[in-house]
């Protein structure tokens, strides 16, 4: 296996792919968005609950988040990792984390110490896979931007 390829398929990625975290629908979700990669048909739905924190006068935070869908190891692992990091973040914090992530997958450079996200640095030598790596993130961004829905079950029966 070439260096590029083992860079792409890091252990962290293989692990998240095999045992995705926070996978499935979130019954208490009040923000939902769906992303697809028309090039390959990969799909990812993100369900999250945005709510005011315990402390008053603070912006809303992601109190719970799950994902669902199908895709390659890169897209599945990236979505899984994303859910583990999103919890507790405000929308602004999430966006700034995505900016870092985007920089990593497009340049291979991690702007600051960002833990597990750096595992995706290998993506930058496979430009066609950037869309895979960001699929779940885009769904989450769209969910954060979407209008508040009622909970998932209600939104599904509408």
């Amino acid at each position: 296996m070439s260096g590029d390829l083992s860079e792409l398929y890091q252990q962290v990625i293989l692990d998240h792919n095999k045992r995705p975290r926070n996978r499935g629908k979130l019954p208490t979700a009040n923000r939902i968005a769906h992303g697809d990669n028309p090039t390959c048909g990969d799909q990812c739905s993100v369900y999250l609950r945005l709510e005011p924190p315990a402390t008053p006068h603070q912006p809303e935070q992601i109190s719970a988040i799950t994902f669902d869908g199908s895709g390659c190891a890169i897209s599945q692992a990236s979505a899984s990792l994303m859910t583990t990091l999103a919890k507790g973040k405000t929308a602004a914090e999430f966006e700034s984390m995505f900016k870092n992530f985007h920089e990593i997958v497009t340049t291979g450079q991690a702007p600051e110490e960002i833990s597990d996200l750096a595992a995706f640095a290998g993506v930058h030598t496979f430009p066609a896979r950037i869309k895979c790596a960001t699929l779940g993130w885009h769904a989450a961004l769209n969910a954060l931007k979407s209008a508040a829905t009622s909970t998932l079950s209600e939104s599904l029966t509408r």
Binding site: L14, C40, G41, S70, G71, C72, A73, Q76, F126
Partner: protein
């Protein structure tokens, strides 16, 4: 000497390395590679004859008109049609859109367009659009079996092919399943209920003899780039009587007999359907591709591709956990497969490291994928220059990939 003897030498692109490995091009269903003769035809045209066609009386213009019309006659001969029945298009997709727009304009609510569940998006979405615009209904002849191994369900024809069906359209060979559909029978049945038949020959044109009279279709469409021709050129064949009553979809220079500020009259077919400057060099080089394939003998091409595919199928079937789509028996030059644990994209990326060019995804067959419970497959598709040795590399590579992902 048999033109097959040194066939790989005819294709400059094959002699390169990818990631330090010899290129093994198994993405022929997406596009075929070009022999030197076809590339040379382009160069020769631009170096000697380039000029616009039809409207000129000087030497270059007469030469290029002549070469363009000779190419039309060559394509006609290739599929046993008349030159006036050959319309040059950009490719299959444009041909189908032309038909969907022009035939579609005559549909009314209650009319039915019958197609199949295994169509390429290009032979599906244009008809959906027409159905929506006219109030016609689109119906699907289903595929049989969990892996579509039974091909089309012909037992449903009686029920689906009613006199309400005005247009029947179907792919000759599925670009995902590799199944060869019985288009002769289907066109005959369609004609019996008064339906116009449209055959998508994108996957069959390069892989064996194709005789539009034997098929009995009213229209047949295909792309040049899948039969060793250049990109940007294709053919719409239309039976003369059909073309005569068909309105053009695009209008403009070259297809008009007379124009005033108030109105215009059309030329007869095929000019009526070729508005504007055509892909002249592309058409001429496509004619040269016909020569190339005929020199190999198209029956021999079919034999080669099908035997290679049989070999691939048998080798792949031995891989534990593999799910092979389409029929086990007679199939054209491709095999589509899936694993429950490893996604097609990861396979394609890994295989690329071994010099293998595969395709992973929905192959423009999303609805079929969904019906089969898949989001995509990996597809290996073969052509005249592929070998059994290349397929062995594929199988070895796949086993290694599965091992890496802890599958298989």
């Amino acid at each position: 000497m048999s033109p097959w003897k040194n066939i790989r030498a005819d294709f400059p692109i094959l002699h390169q390395q990818v990631h330090g490995k010899p290129l093994i091009y198994l993405d022929n269903a997406a596009t075929a590679q070009k022999p030197r003769a076809v590339i040379d035809a382009l160069v020769h045209f631009y170096e000697r004859d380039n000029s616009n066609v039809h409207r000129g009386l000087h030497a270059l213009s007469m030469r290029s008109t002549d070469a363009y019309e000779t190419a039309r006659a060559r394509l006609a001969r290739f599929i046993n049609a008349a030159a006036t029945e050959i319309i040059f298009t950009r490719g299959t997709t444009e041909g189908i859109n032309l038909l969907a727009h022009s035939l579609g304009a005559k549909l009314r609510p209650g009319d039915v367009i019958l197609t199949t569940e295994m169509e390429h998006h290009s032979n599906l979405v244009p008809w959906q659009q027409v159905a929506r615009a006219t109030g016609a209904t689109i119906r699907y002849l289903p595929v049989v079996g969990a892996d579509a191994e039974g091909g089309l369900d012909l037992t449903q024809l009686d029920q689906l092919l009613t006199p309400a069906v005005k247009i029947f359209t179907c792919t000759h060979i599925s670009n995902t399943l590799g199944v060869i559909n019985p288009v002769e029978e289907l066109c005959r049945r369609a004609r019996a209920v008064g339906a116009i038949s449209v055959i998508d020959a994108a996957q069959s044109i390069g892989h064996g003899p194709l005789d539009v009279q034997a098929i009995g279709a009213d229209f047949v469409v295909f792309s040049g780039h899948k039969m060793c021709g250049p990109t940007g050129i294709g053919v719409l064949y239309g039976r003369r009587e059909q073309l005569e009553s068909l309105d053009p979809d695009e209008t403009g220079g070259g297809m008009v007999a007379n124009v005033t500020y108030e109105s215009a009259r059309w030329k007869p077919a095929p000019e009526r359907f070729e508005a504007g400057t055509p892909n002249i060099a592309g058409a001429i080089a496509l004619g040269r591709a016909c020569d190339y394939l005929d020199a190999l003998d198209r029956a021999e091409i079919a034999k080669h591709d099908q035997s290679l595919t049989g070999f691939a199928y048998d080798q792949l079937a031995k891989i534990p956990g593999i799910r092979l789509l389409g029929p086990t028996g007679a199939r054209s030059g491709m095999v589509s497969f899936a694993f429950s644990d490893v996604h097609a994209h990861d396979i394609v990326t890994f295989a690329d490291e071994d010099g293998l060019a595969l395709r992973g995804g929905h192959h423009c067959n999303q609805p079929l994928m969904r019906k089969l419970g898949l989001t995509g497959t990996t597809r290996a598709s073969f052509y005249i220059y592929n070998t059994e040795a290349e397929i062995e590399v594929l199988v070895t590579s796949l086993r290694r990939i599965l091992a890496f992902f802890g599958a298989g």
